[in-house]
């Protein structure tokens, strides 16, 4: 076997929950080259965003990606609000933080489980997803739906968290935290896990910046950059320090996400603690006229929405730049030279979200 074998990795592949195709050339079990073939999830949401009413778009953009759905909605709402010059009530800002961070917890737990499954650690996958269900219950209790929680609306939020629910969250999160702590210790301290992740797919900090990487991929390479530092919603009033790990390998990226789970729990509790009274959503008249750009931190990294309004109920342009889109070049730069067995692990280490990427 001296000549290269071509393996079409995907679009339907059990390790990948989503249809992306990586065309991989292998020499024995070593990857020579990997190129993505996209387009299996491209729906045309940017165009649909111009055809819909700008308020209906909130529901559309939530479905760009189901895993970070509410964060998409938040980014869109922030962009439209800033284009319209709307002031969001304080309570809505804090409630947004609660939901966004709950969403981040569920997304990161999902990632940790999927990564474990990528290297055949079934029981670890099951454990993470078992705990994740408790966060999903919190989301369903407060927002009425498990995955696509649909809480953001232009001007504020659509639902309230009452005292009873806030108490449930405050009681539940420390228990979840304890279990996650135990599992994260088991995951990050495990010999077999270290063998499969440490030193795999190394991206240096400078390379990550040059390739435009964002989010945990960037922070896993030791670059402390997190859009929450920019202080949208209520983040400016909450204590916030980005989590970084220096090594730039799969292990570091996993560790960043693991510790961000704890950080998010702290943020949820802090936001509930300081939850001000007040309106849920600002009333508004009129339509967006003018352009605005909003950058928020989704679980996978920096998410950017740019809206251009023209004074009608339809937008002139809705532009979405999602985190995975920015992380793919970094992924492609590390795949050549990997073993084939490491391809799923390294691919998952950027936590790819293809439905985001292709919109």
């Amino acid at each position: 076997m001296s000549d290269a074998t071509n393996v079409p990795f995907g679009p339907q592949h059990p390790v990948l929950p989503e249809p992306i195709q990586l065309r991989i050339s292998l020499e024995d079990e070593n990857v020579l080259q990997a190129l993505p073939a996209l387009g299996y999830v491209h729906r045309g949401i940017e165009k649909a965003g111009e055809l819909n009413d700008f308020q209906q778009n909130v529901f559309l953009v939530e479905r760009v990606c189901g895993i970070c759905s509410s964060i998409h909605a938040l980014a869109y709402c922030l962009a439209v609000e800033s284009a319209m010059g709307l002031e969001v009530p304080k309570r809505a800002d804090y409630l947004r933080v609660v939901w966004m961070e709950l969403h981040r917890i569920h997304s990161h737990l999902l990632y940790l489980g999927l990564l474990a499954e990528a290297f055949g650690f079934e029981s670890m996958f099951m454990e993470f997803w078992r705990i994740r269900e408790r966060v999903m219950d919190l989301l369903e209790m407060t927002a009425g739906n498990r995955v696509i929680i649909s809480v953001c609306t232009i001007g504020g939020v659509r639902r309230d968290i009452d005292a009873e629910q806030a108490r449930t969250i405050r009681e539940e999160l420390p228990k979840v935290r304890e279990e996650v702590q135990r599992l994260v210790d088991a995951l990050l301290g495990d010999y077999t896990v270290k063998r499969r992740t440490a030193g795999k797919g190394v991206i240096s900090g400078q390379a990550a910046l040059d390739l435009g990487a964002v989010g945990p991929t960037l922070r896993g390479s030791g670059v402390a950059q997190d859009m929450r530092m920019a202080g949208y919603a209520a983040y400016s009033e909450l204590q916030f320090q980005p989590v970084t790990f220096p090594d730039g390998d799969t292990y570091s990226r996993t560790a960043v996400r693991a510790y961000e789970v704890f950080q998010s729990m702290d943020l949820v509790l802090a936001a509930l603690e300081n939850l001000p009274e007040g309106e849920l959503a600002a009333k508004f008249k009129g339509r967006p006229d003018g352009a605005a750009l909003a950058r928020v931190e989704a679980p996978r990294g920096e998410l950017i929405y740019m809206v251009v309004g023209n004074g009608t109920k339809n937008l002139e342009r809705m532009r979405v730049r999602v985190p995975t889109y920015a992380n793919i070049p970094a992924l492609l730069s590390v795949l050549p030279g990997c073993e084939f067995a490491d391809v799923p692990v390294v691919t998952l280490s950027i936590d790819p979200c293809i439905s985001c990427t292709e919109r």
Binding site: E18, P19, Y40, R63, E133, M136
Partner: protein, 160 residues
Amino acid sequence: MNLIQKARMKSPWILHFNAGSCNGCDIEILSCLTPVYDIERFGAVNVGNPKHADVLLVTGPVNRRNERVLRNLYEQMLDPKIVVAVGTCASSGGVFHNCYNCLGGVDKVIPVDVYVPGCAAKPETIIEGVILGLEKLAKMPAKPRPGRTSAEAEKVEAER
């Protein structure tokens, strides 16, 4: 109920294909496998290989590029088989009804046996959907159909 019907009811092997979904339904399908819902109680396992599967769970509104992939996967599955469209998008296109690259529902491409509602479909509903589909699967004829010739199989493989 004879033995074969009972075995079919008790051993649904699942293939999951994401035909352009937002991931919401996909993670809910994965949730079905996990301890809280544990679909393996019903003998279901996610096999990830069309040749082994009995139940095809499709999510998403089906876009132009994966239409062919979906059709091939359906072709490669051996009879008897059922198709479960999971979620609103897979049933009718849902929120993507005016997206240019979407066909709007799995039933535009392959015959669908069960529609599972929800955006995203809840794990309980997905389990109910699979069970509902199995009732249909068990009743399918047990008569063997001549297998695909190897030349045809190769053609399908080449297209994949």
